[in-house]
C-alpha cells in the first residue's frame, strides 16, 4: 500500500496508508486528517481539498485537467504547487507522497 504524508498547517504530521485508485482527498477523509474539508465530495466544485504538493512529487503527478486548473487558482492562498487533492488518484509510484495543507480551506 502506498503511503501519503499529510502535514497540517500547524505542523502536525500524519502518515497514512492509501488504497491504489482512491484519491488523495479520500485518503485524508478516511483517515480523519484535519485540514481537508472536501465539501463537494470530490467533484471538483468547491476547492476545499486544496493541498501543496512537495516539490519532489510535483513532476510525478499527472497534469491538471481543465476543470481542476480553473478551480485551483481560486483556492485559498494558491501557490505554484497547489493541487486539488480530489483529482489526484493514488498509484504505487506515488508511495511516499508528501502533501502540506493550507491554514484554511475555501
Amino acid at each position: 500500500m502506498p503511503k501519503i504524508t499529510f502535514i497540517e498547517y500547524d505542523g502536525n504530521k500524519s502518515v497514512v496508508d492509501a488504497t491504489v485508485g482512491n484519491s488523495v482527498m479520500e485518503t485524508a477523509i478516511e483517515n480523519m486528517v484535519s485540514g481537508i474539508d472536501a465539501d463537494c465530495g470530490g467533484n471538483c466544485i468547491c476547492s476545499t481539498c486544496h493541498g501543496y504538493i512537495d516539490d519532489a512529487w510535483l513532476g510525478k503527478l499527472p497534469p491538471m485537467e481543465a476543470e481542476e486548473e480553473a478551480m485551483v487558482e481560486f483556492a485559498n492562498e494558491p501557490e505554484s504547487n497547489s493541487r486539488l487533492t480530489c483529482q489526484i488518484h493514488m498509484t504505487e509510484e506515488l508511495d511516499g507522497l508528501i502533501v502540506r495543507l493550507p491554514e484554511t480551506q475555501g
Binding site: E30, G41, N43, I45, E67
Partner: protein, 408 residues
Amino acid sequence: MSDTNRETTVIVGAGHAGGVLATSLHQNKYAGRVIVLGEESHLPYQRPPLSKTFLAGEVELKSLFLKPRETYDKAGIELRPNTRVAKIDRDAQALQLEDGTSLEYDKLALTTGGRVRRLDLPGGDLHGVYYLRQIDDVLALQPQFKPGARLVIVGGGYIGLEVAAVAIKRGLDVTVLETEDRVLARVTAPQLSAFYEKVHSDAGVKVRTNTQVTGFEGEENVEAVLCKDGSQIAADMVLIGVGLIPNTELAKDAGLEVDNGIVVDEYTRTSDQNIVAAGDCANHHNDLLGRRIRLESVPNAMGQARAAAATLCGQDKPYQALPWFWSDQYNLKLQMAGLSQGYDDMVLRGSIKDQSFAAFYLKDGLVIAVDAVSRPPEFMVGKKLISEKIKIDPDRLADESVAMKSMA
C-alpha cells in the same frame, strides 16, 4: 452523567451533518463517548450523487459513504443504524427509542435532516410513484430505468431536472411537469430557467410548465398522470420532487424552539444548552444575509456540523458562511452562491448560447448571488464579491476582457 464517568454525546440522524459531526468530535479530540443513531440501514453517506452519478449507475454504492466503517470503529464512534427515536426527555437527559429502550445523554446533537414532501393526491400510493431522498429510493427506481419507459417527473426543481437528465440519457421517454410558469422558479432568474428548459428540450425531455397535477391513475401500477387542465399523460412511472420537510417533530415535542427548523444560535446551540442542531433541520441567523434561514445544502450541513462539534468540545467557533449549492445536468456544471431573492439588477457574463456563462444578481449595487454555468472562476470570485461585499461596476462584471481574478 451516564453509566460511566465519561460524558456521552448522542447524535440523532446519520446523514451528512451527523456523520461529519461525529468525526469532527474525534478530530477535535473529544474525550467522551459518541453514539450516532440513524434511521437508515446505511453508513452516513453523500446524498448529492443520488440524483446524478449514482442514479446513472456511474458510481458504486460504496463510494457514497462519507467514510468506511473502519474509520468510525478506529475512532470509537458507535454507529447504530435502523434506529428511530420516539421522544427526547430533556429532564432525564434521555432518549426513548422506538424499540422501547432508552438511551441517556449528556450532550445531544440533532441532525435529523428532512424528508420528502409527499403529494397528497388521489392515486399517490400506486406502485410506480417514487420519491428520491435516500439510497433505497434510488435502488427501487433504478431497475425501472429501461429504455423506452415513460417517466413523468412532477416538479421542475433540481432533483426533477437532474433525474430528467439521467433518464433521457438512458433512453427513457421523459416529461417534466412544473406548476409555475418556469422551471427552477423559486431559485433562479427567468433567463436561467429558460436556458435549462431549452437544454432539456434539446435533449428530448418534454417540459410542461403551468401544469398542475391533480392525481394519478392506474390499477396497481401507475398508468397516467392527471393534470388540472384535463389532460392525461401516460406513464410507466412517476417521480415526485417537490421539496423537503425538515424533521423537527422530536425537537418541537421536547419543547425546543422551532420556527421553520430548529432555532439555533451562531454556535449551533438550541434553546437547551445541552442540545445542538445542524444541517437541513436547523434554522440559524446568517449575518451575511442579515436574517434567519434554514438551508438545505451539503456545505451548510458540513459547516454547521463542524461548528457543533467545536461547541461540544468547548471551543466556540461561530458558524457564518455564504450559502452555496451545485447541480450537475448533462455536461453542465452549475455552481451557485448566495441567495438571489430580492435582486434589483442582473448582469450576464459569457454566452448563454455557448452554454458557458454566469448570472450575477445585484441589490443596491452589491452582488448578492451568482449562478455560474460551467464557469468556475465566476463562481469562485463571485463568492468573494458577495461575502466581502466588494463594490463592482456592473459594466466591468459583464466585460469578458476584464479577468474575474482582477475583481476581488
